[in-house]
Symmetry: C2
Subunit: 242 residues, 2 copies
Protein backbone atom coordinates (compact mmCIF):
# COMPACT_ATOMS: atom_id res chain seq x y z
CA UNK A 1 0.00 0.00 0.00
CA UNK A 2 1.23 3.37 -1.03
CA UNK A 3 0.70 5.11 2.30
CA UNK A 4 1.72 2.44 4.78
CA UNK A 5 5.18 3.77 5.36
CA UNK A 6 4.04 7.28 6.13
CA UNK A 7 3.86 8.42 9.72
CA UNK A 8 0.57 9.31 11.38
CA UNK A 9 0.44 12.53 13.34
CA UNK A 10 -2.81 12.28 15.25
CA UNK A 11 -1.99 15.40 17.26
CA UNK A 12 -2.88 17.57 14.27
CA UNK A 13 -6.28 15.98 13.81
CA UNK A 14 -9.42 17.25 15.51
CA UNK A 15 -10.80 14.44 17.67
CA UNK A 16 -14.17 14.44 15.94
CA UNK A 17 -12.58 13.45 12.67
CA UNK A 18 -11.05 10.42 14.40
CA UNK A 19 -14.40 9.08 15.51
CA UNK A 20 -17.23 8.35 13.19
CA UNK A 21 -15.16 9.28 10.18
CA UNK A 22 -16.81 6.51 8.24
CA UNK A 23 -20.50 6.83 7.63
CA UNK A 24 -21.82 3.44 8.68
CA UNK A 25 -24.37 3.20 5.95
CA UNK A 26 -22.28 4.13 2.96
CA UNK A 27 -18.69 3.66 3.93
CA UNK A 28 -17.75 7.09 2.65
CA UNK A 29 -15.26 9.21 4.49
CA UNK A 30 -16.17 12.49 6.09
CA UNK A 31 -12.55 13.59 6.18
CA UNK A 32 -9.84 12.23 3.96
CA UNK A 33 -6.91 13.71 5.77
CA UNK A 34 -7.08 11.12 8.52
CA UNK A 35 -9.02 7.97 9.02
CA UNK A 36 -10.43 6.52 12.18
CA UNK A 37 -8.43 3.46 13.25
CA UNK A 38 -11.76 1.76 13.97
CA UNK A 39 -12.20 1.54 10.21
CA UNK A 40 -10.16 -1.63 10.28
CA UNK A 41 -12.98 -3.30 12.19
CA UNK A 42 -15.80 -2.18 9.94
CA UNK A 43 -17.81 -4.93 8.40
CA UNK A 44 -18.51 -5.65 4.80
CA UNK A 45 -22.03 -4.32 5.17
CA UNK A 46 -20.55 -0.93 5.97
CA UNK A 47 -18.48 -0.86 2.80
CA UNK A 48 -21.08 1.13 0.90
CA UNK A 49 -24.00 0.35 -1.32
CA UNK A 50 -26.13 1.98 -3.95
CA UNK A 51 -29.79 1.09 -3.79
CA UNK A 52 -32.50 2.06 -6.27
CA UNK A 53 -36.03 0.88 -5.52
CA UNK A 54 -39.03 0.87 -7.79
CA UNK A 55 -42.13 2.73 -6.56
CA UNK A 56 -44.63 0.97 -4.30
CA UNK A 57 -47.30 1.05 -7.00
CA UNK A 58 -45.37 -1.12 -9.46
CA UNK A 59 -46.86 -4.48 -8.33
CA UNK A 60 -50.39 -3.08 -8.67
CA UNK A 61 -49.52 -1.70 -12.07
CA UNK A 62 -48.15 -5.05 -13.22
CA UNK A 63 -51.32 -6.66 -11.95
CA UNK A 64 -53.32 -4.50 -14.33
CA UNK A 65 -51.86 -6.40 -17.27
CA UNK A 66 -54.51 -8.97 -18.03
CA UNK A 67 -53.88 -9.70 -21.70
CA UNK A 68 -50.69 -10.34 -23.63
CA UNK A 69 -48.62 -7.35 -24.67
CA UNK A 70 -48.11 -8.92 -28.04
CA UNK A 71 -46.59 -6.32 -30.33
CA UNK A 72 -44.50 -3.17 -30.31
CA UNK A 73 -47.48 -0.81 -30.20
CA UNK A 74 -49.16 -2.55 -27.28
CA UNK A 75 -45.92 -2.72 -25.34
CA UNK A 76 -45.09 0.92 -25.98
CA UNK A 77 -48.62 2.05 -25.08
CA UNK A 78 -48.15 0.20 -21.79
CA UNK A 79 -44.73 1.80 -21.20
CA UNK A 80 -46.34 5.22 -21.75
CA UNK A 81 -48.95 4.26 -19.14
CA UNK A 82 -46.06 3.39 -16.84
CA UNK A 83 -44.47 6.82 -17.36
CA UNK A 84 -47.86 8.49 -16.87
CA UNK A 85 -48.38 6.63 -13.59
CA UNK A 86 -44.91 7.69 -12.40
CA UNK A 87 -45.96 11.31 -12.97
CA UNK A 88 -49.39 10.87 -11.38
CA UNK A 89 -47.95 9.15 -8.28
CA UNK A 90 -45.16 11.73 -7.97
CA UNK A 91 -42.52 9.02 -7.81
CA UNK A 92 -40.02 10.36 -10.35
CA UNK A 93 -39.52 11.95 -13.75
CA UNK A 94 -41.80 11.46 -16.77
CA UNK A 95 -40.09 8.40 -18.22
CA UNK A 96 -40.75 4.66 -18.34
CA UNK A 97 -39.08 1.61 -19.85
CA UNK A 98 -39.60 -2.14 -20.05
CA UNK A 99 -37.48 -5.06 -21.16
CA UNK A 100 -39.08 -7.99 -22.99
CA UNK A 101 -37.59 -11.30 -24.10
CA UNK A 102 -37.56 -11.25 -27.90
CA UNK A 103 -38.50 -14.90 -28.40
CA UNK A 104 -41.08 -15.64 -25.69
CA UNK A 105 -42.45 -12.12 -25.39
CA UNK A 106 -42.08 -12.35 -21.62
CA UNK A 107 -41.81 -9.12 -19.64
CA UNK A 108 -38.45 -9.32 -17.84
CA UNK A 109 -38.23 -6.00 -16.00
CA UNK A 110 -39.64 -2.50 -15.84
CA UNK A 111 -38.05 0.82 -15.01
CA UNK A 112 -39.22 4.32 -14.25
CA UNK A 113 -37.19 7.47 -13.66
CA UNK A 114 -36.21 7.59 -9.97
CA UNK A 115 -33.61 10.39 -10.00
CA UNK A 116 -35.21 12.72 -7.45
CA UNK A 117 -36.69 10.22 -4.94
CA UNK A 118 -33.68 7.87 -5.04
CA UNK A 119 -31.18 10.77 -4.81
CA UNK A 120 -29.41 9.29 -7.78
CA UNK A 121 -28.74 10.98 -11.12
CA UNK A 122 -28.11 7.66 -12.86
CA UNK A 123 -31.60 6.31 -12.05
CA UNK A 124 -33.11 6.89 -15.50
CA UNK A 125 -35.90 4.53 -16.57
CA UNK A 126 -33.72 2.65 -19.08
CA UNK A 127 -30.91 2.18 -16.55
CA UNK A 128 -33.35 0.92 -13.92
CA UNK A 129 -34.91 -1.54 -16.40
CA UNK A 130 -31.64 -3.04 -17.65
CA UNK A 131 -29.98 -3.23 -14.23
CA UNK A 132 -33.09 -4.80 -12.67
CA UNK A 133 -33.20 -7.39 -15.47
CA UNK A 134 -29.51 -8.18 -15.13
CA UNK A 135 -29.60 -8.57 -11.37
CA UNK A 136 -32.75 -10.68 -11.52
CA UNK A 137 -31.21 -12.95 -14.18
CA UNK A 138 -27.82 -13.00 -12.46
CA UNK A 139 -25.66 -11.79 -15.35
CA UNK A 140 -24.34 -8.43 -16.49
CA UNK A 141 -24.81 -9.43 -20.16
CA UNK A 142 -28.39 -9.90 -21.30
CA UNK A 143 -27.18 -11.75 -24.39
CA UNK A 144 -25.82 -14.42 -22.07
CA UNK A 145 -28.88 -14.40 -19.84
CA UNK A 146 -31.43 -14.31 -22.68
CA UNK A 147 -29.96 -16.14 -25.68
CA UNK A 148 -33.20 -15.53 -27.60
CA UNK A 149 -32.55 -11.80 -27.43
CA UNK A 150 -34.19 -8.90 -25.63
CA UNK A 151 -35.93 -5.67 -26.55
CA UNK A 152 -35.95 -2.47 -24.52
CA UNK A 153 -38.97 -0.17 -24.89
CA UNK A 154 -38.42 3.38 -23.69
CA UNK A 155 -40.95 6.19 -23.52
CA UNK A 156 -38.30 8.56 -24.89
CA UNK A 157 -35.11 8.54 -26.92
CA UNK A 158 -32.26 7.76 -24.53
CA UNK A 159 -30.07 10.58 -23.22
CA UNK A 160 -26.30 10.53 -23.73
CA UNK A 161 -25.78 8.39 -20.61
CA UNK A 162 -28.41 5.79 -21.51
CA UNK A 163 -27.22 5.71 -25.14
CA UNK A 164 -23.78 4.80 -23.84
CA UNK A 165 -25.19 2.28 -21.37
CA UNK A 166 -27.31 0.17 -23.70
CA UNK A 167 -24.48 -1.42 -25.72
CA UNK A 168 -22.91 -2.60 -22.43
CA UNK A 169 -26.21 -4.20 -21.41
CA UNK A 170 -26.51 -6.82 -24.13
CA UNK A 171 -29.92 -5.80 -25.49
CA UNK A 172 -30.62 -6.62 -29.15
CA UNK A 173 -33.19 -3.99 -29.97
CA UNK A 174 -34.35 -0.57 -28.78
CA UNK A 175 -37.79 0.89 -29.42
CA UNK A 176 -38.46 4.44 -28.28
CA UNK A 177 -41.34 6.93 -28.47
CA UNK A 178 -40.63 10.64 -27.81
CA UNK A 179 -37.72 12.10 -29.73
CA UNK A 180 -34.61 13.73 -28.32
CA UNK A 181 -36.04 17.09 -29.43
CA UNK A 182 -39.27 16.41 -27.52
CA UNK A 183 -37.33 15.83 -24.30
CA UNK A 184 -35.08 18.86 -24.76
CA UNK A 185 -38.17 20.97 -25.56
CA UNK A 186 -39.35 20.67 -21.94
CA UNK A 187 -35.92 21.58 -20.58
CA UNK A 188 -33.92 18.41 -19.93
CA UNK A 189 -30.30 18.63 -21.11
CA UNK A 190 -29.94 15.23 -22.77
CA UNK A 191 -26.21 15.73 -23.26
CA UNK A 192 -24.02 15.61 -26.34
CA UNK A 193 -24.58 12.44 -28.34
CA UNK A 194 -22.42 10.89 -31.05
CA UNK A 195 -23.54 11.77 -34.54
CA UNK A 196 -25.51 8.95 -36.17
CA UNK A 197 -25.68 6.81 -33.05
CA UNK A 198 -28.16 4.51 -34.76
CA UNK A 199 -25.40 3.35 -37.14
CA UNK A 200 -23.13 2.79 -34.16
CA UNK A 201 -25.82 0.61 -32.61
CA UNK A 202 -26.24 -1.30 -35.89
CA UNK A 203 -22.51 -2.05 -35.95
CA UNK A 204 -22.93 -3.58 -32.48
CA UNK A 205 -25.94 -5.66 -33.50
CA UNK A 206 -28.57 -3.44 -31.87
CA UNK A 207 -31.59 -2.58 -34.00
CA UNK A 208 -33.50 0.66 -33.37
CA UNK A 209 -37.16 1.47 -33.98
CA UNK A 210 -37.57 5.22 -33.58
CA UNK A 211 -40.50 7.39 -32.53
CA UNK A 212 -43.22 4.76 -32.15
CA UNK A 213 -46.24 6.57 -30.62
CA UNK A 214 -44.12 9.71 -30.57
CA UNK A 215 -47.03 12.15 -30.42
CA UNK A 216 -48.63 10.45 -27.43
CA UNK A 217 -45.25 10.39 -25.67
CA UNK A 218 -44.51 14.04 -26.46
CA UNK A 219 -47.96 15.03 -25.13
CA UNK A 220 -47.14 13.23 -21.90
CA UNK A 221 -43.88 15.19 -21.54
CA UNK A 222 -45.57 18.51 -22.30
CA UNK A 223 -48.25 17.74 -19.74
CA UNK A 224 -45.61 17.00 -17.10
CA UNK A 225 -43.88 20.32 -17.75
CA UNK A 226 -47.14 22.28 -17.92
CA UNK A 227 -48.12 20.92 -14.51
CA UNK A 228 -44.88 22.11 -12.94
CA UNK A 229 -43.01 18.81 -12.97
CA UNK A 230 -39.39 19.09 -11.85
CA UNK A 231 -36.92 19.57 -14.71
CA UNK A 232 -33.56 18.81 -13.11
CA UNK A 233 -30.43 20.07 -14.82
CA UNK A 234 -27.31 20.37 -12.68
CA UNK A 235 -25.40 22.15 -15.45
CA UNK A 236 -28.00 24.83 -16.17
CA UNK A 237 -26.98 27.14 -13.35
CA UNK A 238 -23.90 29.30 -13.42
CA UNK A 239 -21.07 27.85 -11.39
CA UNK A 240 -18.33 30.06 -12.70
CA UNK A 241 -16.94 30.54 -9.21
CA UNK A 242 -16.39 26.87 -8.49
CA UNK B 1 -55.66 1.89 -16.70
CA UNK B 2 -55.43 0.89 -20.28
CA UNK B 3 -56.12 -2.80 -19.78
CA UNK B 4 -58.82 -2.70 -17.16
CA UNK B 5 -61.69 -3.12 -19.57
CA UNK B 6 -60.24 -6.14 -21.28
CA UNK B 7 -61.59 -9.55 -20.45
CA UNK B 8 -59.43 -12.18 -18.80
CA UNK B 9 -59.52 -15.66 -20.28
CA UNK B 10 -57.73 -17.73 -17.68
CA UNK B 11 -58.58 -20.96 -19.48
CA UNK B 12 -55.90 -20.24 -22.05
CA UNK B 13 -53.21 -19.74 -19.46
CA UNK B 14 -51.06 -22.58 -18.07
CA UNK B 15 -51.67 -22.79 -14.34
CA UNK B 16 -48.01 -22.34 -13.48
CA UNK B 17 -47.98 -18.90 -15.03
CA UNK B 18 -50.82 -17.92 -12.72
CA UNK B 19 -48.86 -18.73 -9.58
CA UNK B 20 -45.55 -17.20 -8.72
CA UNK B 21 -45.63 -15.01 -11.78
CA UNK B 22 -43.94 -12.27 -9.85
CA UNK B 23 -40.45 -12.91 -8.64
CA UNK B 24 -40.58 -11.94 -4.98
CA UNK B 25 -37.14 -10.45 -4.87
CA UNK B 26 -37.23 -8.22 -7.89
CA UNK B 27 -40.83 -7.76 -8.81
CA UNK B 28 -40.20 -8.73 -12.40
CA UNK B 29 -42.69 -10.84 -14.26
CA UNK B 30 -41.91 -14.32 -15.46
CA UNK B 31 -44.75 -14.23 -17.96
CA UNK B 32 -46.28 -11.08 -19.34
CA UNK B 33 -49.26 -12.62 -21.02
CA UNK B 34 -51.11 -13.00 -17.76
CA UNK B 35 -50.43 -11.95 -14.23
CA UNK B 36 -51.22 -13.76 -11.01
CA UNK B 37 -54.12 -12.09 -9.19
CA UNK B 38 -52.05 -12.42 -6.01
CA UNK B 39 -49.92 -9.64 -7.39
CA UNK B 40 -52.42 -7.18 -5.98
CA UNK B 41 -51.35 -8.23 -2.50
CA UNK B 42 -47.61 -7.94 -3.07
CA UNK B 43 -45.81 -5.56 -0.80
CA UNK B 44 -43.66 -2.59 -1.61
CA UNK B 45 -40.54 -4.56 -0.70
CA UNK B 46 -41.30 -6.87 -3.60
CA UNK B 47 -41.42 -4.04 -6.09
CA UNK B 48 -37.83 -4.51 -7.18
CA UNK B 49 -34.52 -2.98 -6.31
CA UNK B 50 -31.08 -2.55 -7.77
CA UNK B 51 -28.24 -2.95 -5.32
CA UNK B 52 -24.56 -2.36 -5.97
CA UNK B 53 -22.17 -3.01 -3.08
CA UNK B 54 -18.55 -2.02 -2.76
CA UNK B 55 -16.04 -4.82 -2.08
CA UNK B 56 -15.37 -6.01 1.47
CA UNK B 57 -11.81 -4.67 1.39
CA UNK B 58 -12.83 -1.03 0.89
CA UNK B 59 -12.88 -0.10 4.61
CA UNK B 60 -9.39 -1.57 5.08
CA UNK B 61 -8.22 0.30 2.00
CA UNK B 62 -9.66 3.56 3.28
CA UNK B 63 -7.92 2.91 6.60
CA UNK B 64 -4.59 2.84 4.78
CA UNK B 65 -4.91 6.55 4.08
CA UNK B 66 -2.90 8.13 6.87
CA UNK B 67 -1.91 11.46 5.36
CA UNK B 68 -3.85 14.04 3.40
CA UNK B 69 -4.41 13.40 -0.29
CA UNK B 70 -3.61 17.00 -0.98
CA UNK B 71 -3.21 17.42 -4.72
CA UNK B 72 -4.25 15.92 -8.03
CA UNK B 73 -1.23 13.64 -8.32
CA UNK B 74 -1.58 12.18 -4.84
CA UNK B 75 -5.28 11.61 -5.30
CA UNK B 76 -4.83 10.00 -8.69
CA UNK B 77 -2.01 7.77 -7.44
CA UNK B 78 -4.37 6.62 -4.70
CA UNK B 79 -7.18 5.99 -7.21
CA UNK B 80 -4.75 3.86 -9.24
CA UNK B 81 -3.98 1.92 -6.06
CA UNK B 82 -7.73 1.45 -5.66
CA UNK B 83 -8.03 0.04 -9.19
CA UNK B 84 -4.99 -2.17 -8.59
CA UNK B 85 -6.51 -3.56 -5.40
CA UNK B 86 -9.78 -4.29 -7.24
CA UNK B 87 -7.78 -6.39 -9.70
CA UNK B 88 -5.70 -8.12 -7.00
CA UNK B 89 -8.77 -8.98 -4.93
CA UNK B 90 -10.69 -10.19 -7.98
CA UNK B 91 -13.65 -7.96 -7.15
CA UNK B 92 -14.27 -6.34 -10.55
CA UNK B 93 -12.73 -4.72 -13.59
CA UNK B 94 -9.48 -2.69 -13.59
CA UNK B 95 -10.99 0.69 -12.83
CA UNK B 96 -11.25 2.99 -9.81
CA UNK B 97 -12.69 6.42 -9.07
CA UNK B 98 -13.02 8.80 -6.15
CA UNK B 99 -14.98 11.98 -5.52
CA UNK B 100 -13.44 14.80 -3.48
CA UNK B 101 -14.98 18.05 -2.27
CA UNK B 102 -13.21 20.85 -4.16
CA UNK B 103 -13.02 23.28 -1.25
CA UNK B 104 -12.27 21.16 1.81
CA UNK B 105 -10.43 18.38 -0.01
CA UNK B 106 -12.57 15.81 1.79
CA UNK B 107 -12.97 12.40 0.23
CA UNK B 108 -16.71 11.99 -0.34
CA UNK B 109 -17.00 8.58 -2.00
CA UNK B 110 -15.05 5.93 -3.83
CA UNK B 111 -16.01 3.59 -6.64
CA UNK B 112 -14.54 0.55 -8.32
CA UNK B 113 -15.81 -1.39 -11.30
CA UNK B 114 -18.35 -3.99 -10.09
CA UNK B 115 -19.89 -5.12 -13.39
CA UNK B 116 -19.20 -8.84 -13.14
CA UNK B 117 -19.68 -9.49 -9.39
CA UNK B 118 -22.75 -7.21 -9.11
CA UNK B 119 -24.32 -8.62 -12.30
CA UNK B 120 -24.77 -5.07 -13.49
CA UNK B 121 -23.39 -3.52 -16.65
CA UNK B 122 -23.88 0.02 -15.34
CA UNK B 123 -21.60 -0.55 -12.31
CA UNK B 124 -18.57 1.29 -13.67
CA UNK B 125 -16.23 2.92 -11.14
CA UNK B 126 -17.35 6.46 -12.00
CA UNK B 127 -21.04 5.54 -11.74
CA UNK B 128 -20.50 3.83 -8.39
CA UNK B 129 -18.59 6.84 -7.04
CA UNK B 130 -21.14 9.48 -8.08
CA UNK B 131 -24.21 7.45 -7.06
CA UNK B 132 -22.66 6.56 -3.69
CA UNK B 133 -21.85 10.21 -3.07
CA UNK B 134 -25.34 11.35 -4.06
CA UNK B 135 -27.14 8.79 -1.92
CA UNK B 136 -24.85 9.48 1.04
CA UNK B 137 -25.45 13.23 0.72
CA UNK B 138 -29.16 12.80 -0.01
CA UNK B 139 -29.34 14.69 -3.30
CA UNK B 140 -29.13 13.71 -6.98
CA UNK B 141 -27.26 16.95 -7.78
CA UNK B 142 -23.79 17.26 -6.29
CA UNK B 143 -23.81 21.00 -6.98
CA UNK B 144 -26.66 21.27 -4.52
CA UNK B 145 -25.10 18.89 -2.01
CA UNK B 146 -21.57 20.34 -2.25
CA UNK B 147 -21.86 24.07 -3.02
CA UNK B 148 -18.06 24.35 -2.90
CA UNK B 149 -17.82 22.02 -5.87
CA UNK B 150 -16.59 18.47 -6.37
CA UNK B 151 -13.91 16.72 -8.39
CA UNK B 152 -14.09 13.19 -9.77
CA UNK B 153 -10.81 11.32 -10.24
CA UNK B 154 -11.03 8.31 -12.53
CA UNK B 155 -8.28 5.81 -13.35
CA UNK B 156 -9.34 5.95 -17.00
CA UNK B 157 -11.10 8.23 -19.46
CA UNK B 158 -14.84 7.63 -19.08
CA UNK B 159 -16.65 5.37 -21.56
CA UNK B 160 -19.64 6.68 -23.54
CA UNK B 161 -22.04 5.84 -20.69
CA UNK B 162 -20.00 7.53 -17.97
CA UNK B 163 -19.33 10.54 -20.22
CA UNK B 164 -23.08 10.95 -20.53
CA UNK B 165 -23.62 10.39 -16.82
CA UNK B 166 -21.22 12.94 -15.39
CA UNK B 167 -23.05 16.12 -16.53
CA UNK B 168 -26.21 14.79 -14.82
CA UNK B 169 -24.26 14.26 -11.57
CA UNK B 170 -23.34 17.85 -10.81
CA UNK B 171 -19.56 17.41 -10.61
CA UNK B 172 -17.45 20.48 -11.44
CA UNK B 173 -14.25 18.84 -12.57
CA UNK B 174 -13.02 15.51 -13.97
CA UNK B 175 -9.44 14.28 -13.75
CA UNK B 176 -8.57 11.03 -15.52
CA UNK B 177 -5.45 8.92 -16.09
CA UNK B 178 -5.49 6.25 -18.85
CA UNK B 179 -6.73 7.45 -22.23
CA UNK B 180 -9.66 6.10 -24.22
CA UNK B 181 -7.12 4.47 -26.56
CA UNK B 182 -5.42 2.72 -23.61
CA UNK B 183 -8.73 1.17 -22.53
CA UNK B 184 -9.71 0.12 -26.06
CA UNK B 185 -6.22 -1.36 -26.56
CA UNK B 186 -6.97 -4.11 -24.04
CA UNK B 187 -10.33 -4.91 -25.66
CA UNK B 188 -13.07 -2.92 -23.95
CA UNK B 189 -15.56 -1.32 -26.39
CA UNK B 190 -15.88 2.12 -24.84
CA UNK B 191 -18.69 3.05 -27.21
CA UNK B 192 -19.15 5.91 -29.64
CA UNK B 193 -18.48 9.26 -28.00
CA UNK B 194 -19.42 12.75 -29.16
CA UNK B 195 -16.62 14.51 -30.97
CA UNK B 196 -14.82 17.03 -28.75
CA UNK B 197 -16.66 16.03 -25.59
CA UNK B 198 -14.27 18.17 -23.53
CA UNK B 199 -15.78 21.31 -25.13
CA UNK B 200 -19.25 19.98 -24.34
CA UNK B 201 -18.19 19.59 -20.72
CA UNK B 202 -16.73 23.11 -20.69
CA UNK B 203 -20.07 24.50 -21.93
CA UNK B 204 -21.69 22.81 -18.93
CA UNK B 205 -19.16 24.17 -16.46
CA UNK B 206 -17.14 20.96 -16.07
CA UNK B 207 -13.37 21.29 -16.32
CA UNK B 208 -11.30 18.34 -17.50
CA UNK B 209 -7.70 17.43 -16.68
CA UNK B 210 -6.68 14.66 -19.06
CA UNK B 211 -4.15 11.85 -18.78
CA UNK B 212 -2.62 12.59 -15.38
CA UNK B 213 -0.34 9.60 -14.55
CA UNK B 214 -1.43 8.07 -17.85
CA UNK B 215 1.54 5.72 -18.22
CA UNK B 216 1.09 4.22 -14.77
CA UNK B 217 -2.62 3.74 -15.47
CA UNK B 218 -2.02 2.19 -18.89
CA UNK B 219 0.50 -0.22 -17.36
CA UNK B 220 -2.13 -1.28 -14.86
CA UNK B 221 -4.61 -2.01 -17.67
CA UNK B 222 -2.03 -3.95 -19.69
CA UNK B 223 -1.13 -5.98 -16.62
CA UNK B 224 -4.79 -6.85 -16.06
CA UNK B 225 -5.18 -8.05 -19.63
CA UNK B 226 -1.86 -9.93 -19.63
CA UNK B 227 -2.94 -11.82 -16.52
CA UNK B 228 -6.16 -12.98 -18.18
CA UNK B 229 -8.52 -10.45 -16.63
CA UNK B 230 -12.06 -10.59 -17.99
CA UNK B 231 -12.72 -8.21 -20.89
CA UNK B 232 -16.50 -8.13 -21.15
CA UNK B 233 -18.06 -6.94 -24.37
CA UNK B 234 -21.65 -7.97 -25.02
CA UNK B 235 -21.56 -6.61 -28.57
CA UNK B 236 -18.37 -8.38 -29.67
CA UNK B 237 -20.03 -11.69 -30.49
CA UNK B 238 -22.14 -12.27 -33.57
CA UNK B 239 -25.84 -12.23 -32.77
CA UNK B 240 -27.10 -12.01 -36.34
CA UNK B 241 -29.78 -14.61 -35.63
CA UNK B 242 -31.48 -12.68 -32.84
Amino acid sequence: MRFESRSIDKRSVPQDTLTGALNNRTGTLTDSTNVDSNLRETTASQAGAIRIDLPDWIPRFLASVTTPLADDRERMAWVLDLARENIRAGTGGPFGAALFAADSGRLIAVGVNRVVPAHCSIAHAEMVAIATAQQRLGHYDLRQALPGGSILYSSAEPCAMCLGALPWSGIDRLVYAASDADVRAIGFDEGDKPSDWISGYARRGIQVTAELLREEAADLLRGYAANGGEIYDPTATDHGDS
